[in-house]
Structure formats: structure tokens, C-alpha cells
Symmetry: C2
Subunit: 140 residues, 2 copies
């Protein structure tokens, strides 16, 4: 299935009407699993969608993550990053080079969390921070 169709399905599945802009942003996130910021998305889409407004990017990203179509990742304290991959996985951020990438995990659901039964949990984020392989070797 192409990303165009995937994007449309994703939007429809969470009850969001697939406008041009929403489709472009959703498709971008599915095609670029690079955890882009709102600014990056705006800059990359603006050549093909010249009238696109940055406000629309922000509005759409908020709408999509509120409806669960995408994830908003706050591992980087400076700006929020977005992820079209909503399957369970963790994220790693290098404190030196700033790169952010996915870590596939197993067994997160076996973590015992005291008192979680009293809560209505809608999402869970697991962040690891440290030094990536490249930067690790460059540490003094």
C-alpha cells in the first residue's frame, strides 16, 4: 500500500477529514520516519504546497496527535518532534550530536506500574538518552 493511501486511511480511521494539507502532513510523516520538527515539515512541504502556512502545520500536528494518528515526541527539550509510526517503540537521543532514532523494544507491557489501574492511560513513551555509537567513541 502506498503512503498516499496509508495516510488517507490513517486520517479516516481516527475521524479526521483528509484535506490537502492534512494529507500532505500525514503522508510526509509516514514517508519520513526521521522524527521531524514542525519547522522541518513546513520547510519540506512548502515547495510543493506554496500556500501552506506554518500555523496550519502546527494545528494539524496537534489535531493528528490528539486523535492518535501520530505521536508527539518530547525527548528533545528544545522542540517537539513528530512520528507517524504509532506502533510500540522507544526513542534514543544522543546528548552530543542530538540525533534521535527508534529503538525496537519487547516486554514493555510486563513492567509493573503501581496504581496504574486507577488511571486511564492513552499513551506511553520510553526515552533513552546518552551517546550514540559514533559519539561514544569520541568521548575523551
Amino acid at each position: 500500500m502506498d503512503t498516499r493511501r496509508k495516510a488517507k486511511n490513517r486520517l479516516l480511521s481516527v475521524g479526521i477529514k483528509p484535506s490537502i494539507q492534512r494529507m500532505a502532513i500525514m503522508e510526509y510523516l509516514l514517508a519520513h520516519p526521521t522524527h521531524p520538527t514542525a519547522d522541518t515539515i513546513f520547510n519540506d512541504l512548502t515547495p510543493t504546497l506554496p500556500t501552506l502556512s506554518k500555523t496550519t502545520v502546527y494545528n494539524t500536528l496537534r489535531l493528528l496527535s490528539e486523535q492518535g494518528a501520530i505521536l508527539s515526541i518530547s525527548i528533545d527539550e528544545k522542540n517537539v518532534r513528530y512520528d507517524g509510526d504509532i506502533a510500540t517503540h522507544a526513542h534514543f537521543k544522543c546528548k552530543k550530536c542530538g540525533c534521535v532514532y527508534d529503538l525496537s523494544i519487547k516486554g514493555l507491557d510486563t513492567v509493573y506500574v503501581e496504581g496504574i489501574g486507577d488511571l486511564c492511560v492513552t499513551e506511553c513513551q520510553l526515552y533513552y538518552k546518552g551517546y550514540c555509537e559514533k559519539c561514544k567513541s569520541k568521548l575523551t
Copy 2:
């Protein structure tokens, strides 16, 4: 052991000279396990430390978290929160009322993370989001 002494030990153990301001901030975090923001810390300390500057609060919080004396929590996308409790635990944030609190967890180290051996991991954060007990019951 009183928080004053705990604070001093914490600073010394990570090699930070315990100045008046640093001590005040470290002690505040140990005495207030409420995940305060930099702004809250500044406002609460300023009556007893009238010359305190907000820049000092930010600088100190960065220094402390860089050295591992405290945790910086990015569960709330708006502002960073700080935690003097550096033992393993998770955090929960209610998407309605915005409250952030601790969750005690067991078994996080049994999560299998693919490729983590290639990284130098210095910290790990586990965030849960959803609706707290109070807000859960108020959902339409």
C-alpha cells in the same frame, strides 16, 4: 538526614561546589517532589533569596541535571520540570488537568531493547499519559 545535608551531599557527590544558590535549589527539589518548573522554583525561592536571578535558576538546573544530581522531565511539552528524586521511577501526566506525578515501577530493566549494547545510555525516562482518576470520571 535533613534535606540540607542531603542537598550538600548530592552536590558534592557529583562534584558541584555547594554555593548558596545551588544549595537552595537542590534543597528545594529534595523537599518538594512536585516536579516544579524553573519558574516555580524561582518564585518560591525568591522570598528567602531576594537577589536570586532567574538566569541562575536556569543555569543551576542545567548544571545539576548535566551532572546527574537531578532529573529533567520533559513529559509536559510546554515547560521542563525537574525532579530531585533520581531513583528509577516513571511519570504520569493527565492530559486534562495537567497534573504530573510519580509512578513506582518494577521490571523496567527486563525490557528488551534491540541494539542498546551499541549505545552508551546515561538515562532512561518512562512517561505515561492519559486521564487521572478524578478527570477519568468526568469524561463525557
